[in-house]
Amino acid sequence: MAQVEYRHATRIYPGTSAPAVSALELEIQDGEFMVLVGPSGSGKSTALRMLAGLEAVDEGQIFIGDRDVTDVQPKDRDIAMVFQNYALYPHMTVAENIGFHLKIKKRPKAEIKQRVLEAAKLLDLEPYLDRKPARLSGGQRQRVAMGRAIVRQPQVFLMDEPLSNLDAKLRVATRTQIASLQRRLGVTTVYVTHDQVEAMTMGDRVAVLKDGILQQCDTPRALFDHPVNVFVAGFMGSPAMNLIELPVTEAGVSLSAAQIPLSPAQRAGVTGDKVTLGVRPEGWDIVSPAEGLVATVEVVEELGSDSYAYVTPKMEGFDDGRTIVVRAESGAHPPQKGEQIGLRPKTASVHLFDTTSGLRLSE
């Protein structure tokens, strides 16, 4: 077990000018579950593959423990990786797949058998040890891929979207399994996903990447409560945060009847004449049309425990069909389609960003 450190790590694919991963600075603690999340093309997988040694590091360094592994072969890094498509060896049985690394390391046969069996027990794979991967279900294959990593007792687990090929229900179940397994084994884990729900639920900390640049790295709670910029604010959370551009006045920003004052520190951060107001769906109070921003309900999504209303507010910038998402809490009378409602942001749930730079205006 060890900590992992990216120091200014950069990867530029041959033939491209923009780096896939740009000067990544990231420290992952011993035993931590770190999730790299971002949209496709954000460089999260490349960052993981750099750590695995499958991708060259063009600038900077990568450390595992105290060891500089920047130019070390994958086999000598003491890492185990779970691939998106599992990458099982089709000609080997489940047992041989799991034990392949140990066989290469020329461990005694008895030890290999013992360790493979232990890993199989941990993952409920015992009945399938003699099967070939072609005869396994998707979930079982996924577990074999996990077993292949676990059996090695590596310093770091690397997981590249290991759940994306499972159906929705199995994904949720496996998500919990992986997270609890990682807590139990206590092995430092770097986990790549494009799914922000996975990131929020699994990670001790989450690193959000965009265009190869690290945007923010923090606990899921902190990311949710204090996104450092508009991108992180819009990316984390589902449905996404509502982002509304508003002009700055003497008093601050005003959204219909609601006045949101700016602190001196916030005012100093404003570079243009506009700020972006961010309010999550659950950050709205639904009031009568006279008391807040007037909006027409377009669609209501009923989820059982609560419902989401997609509304069109009567204000500039929203005449092109853009909507605001509002959560109506359970028990309350849910808004009806076509109804006119008033919206007022809860004071505690207001996020302010500078529109020009996209950066958070912190108090």
Partner: protein, 334 residues
């Protein structure tokens, strides 16, 4: 006018002869297609209960007829002839005498031994060489150029290849091989074609030269079809170099390897043109297929020739069956 005509009689007659033959062929093909077209048209108009059986008959019928004429009947007739004496018509029934001859006569035993050697050496060497080159060029930049060059002999007929290599193996001063080894300091190289049993292997080199390209192209495609992430997983697992090659890559292209090996084996069993062109089967280089030709069309012993044909057929059949089974398996896993 008449002078011109009389001087051109010979050429004119051969020309008109071949022209009329070509005309005949075109006529036959045209009639065949016309008949098929009429049948198709008629079958297309059929409705009701008869429609499906009629469709099956119309589509399968011509193929079955052609197969019968071209394959099944000749095969049965060959087997029948192999149990009879030398003559094509009116030969006596001789039982298995022709087969006994094939397996006991010393000359024939040499032929069988040669064929066996061919069957093992040529396919194994061309497949191994093809694999080696396929792996070697896999990461190369100009690999298509290299592959085309190596594949090119495949486009040459066996006879053509035999004639080319005949020059290579020729005696001094024409022979390329002799020239090379002389330049390298071997004063009196042997007459390659006459040196038994070396000449057998020299002939196999021609086959290998042709078949390596085929093996390389097919195996190269198979290697490229191995998913990258499996190779990466193996690298992370600690496999590299020969370990990666033998534990992961080779097993994953195993069925393709077998298909290539058996395909070359089948081609080798039937090889005849190379030997015919280079040695004519002399100097202890004869193989089954060439001997079959010799027995039938030089010695005019149809019985013996047919027996050899049946032996080749029996040897090829299991290879072919295995080949097809492997191909199916491969298709099922993809």
């Amino acid at each position: 006018m008449s002078v011109l005509a009389s001087s051109g009689i010979v050429t004119a007659s051969t020309f008109s002869d071949s022209a009329s033959k070509l005309g005949n062929v075109i006529e036959v093909v045209a009639v065949f297609f016309a008949v098929i077209l009429i049948i198709f048209f008629a079958a297309g108009r059929a409705t009701g209960r008869l429609q499906r059986p009629l469709a099956i008959l119309v589509f399968l019928g011509p193929a079955i007829v052609l197969l019968l004429i071209g394959l099944v009947i000749p095969a049965i007739r060959t087997f029948y002839l192999s149990l009879h004496g030398a003559d094509l018509v009116g030969a006596k029934y001789v039982g298995l005498k022709n087969y006994t001859w094939a397996f006991t006569n010393p000359t024939e035993q040499q032929v069988l031994l040669n064929t066996l050697l061919w069957l093992i050496v040529a396919p194994v060497v061309s497949t191994a060489l093809g694999l080696l080159i396929a792996v070697g060029v896999d990461r190369m930049k100009r690999q298509n150029l290299v592959k085309s060059l190596i594949f090119m002999p495949m486009a040459i007929s066996f006879v053509g290849a035999g004639i080319i290599w005949k020059y290579v193996y020729d005696k001094a001063p024409d022979g390329l091989l002799t020239a090379i080894v002389t330049a390298l300091g071997w004063k009196h190289p042997p007459l390659w074609i006459l040196s038994h049993p070396l000449n057998n292997f020299l002939l196999m080199v021609i086959m290998i030269w042709i078949q390596t390209g085929f093996a390389m192209v097919v195996l190269s495609a198979a290697i490229k079809a191995v998913p990258d992430d499996i190779i990466e997983a193996a690298r992370v697992d600690g496999a590299h170099g020969s370990r990666l090659f033998f534990s992961v890559q080779i097993p994953m292209i195993r069925s393709t390897l077998i298909v290539v090996l058996t395909t070359v084996m089948i081609a080798t069993l039937k090889i005849f043109d190379i030997i015919k062109a280079v040695t004519g089967g002399n100097f202890g280089t004869n193989v089954l297929a060439n001997d079959m030709w010799n027995q039938t069309f030089v010695q005019f012993n149809v019985g013996r020739g047919s027996a050899l044909a049946v032996i080749i057929f029996v040897a090829v059949a299991p290879l072919l069956a295995y080949n097809i089974v492997q191909l199916r398996k491969e298709r099922a896993t993809r």
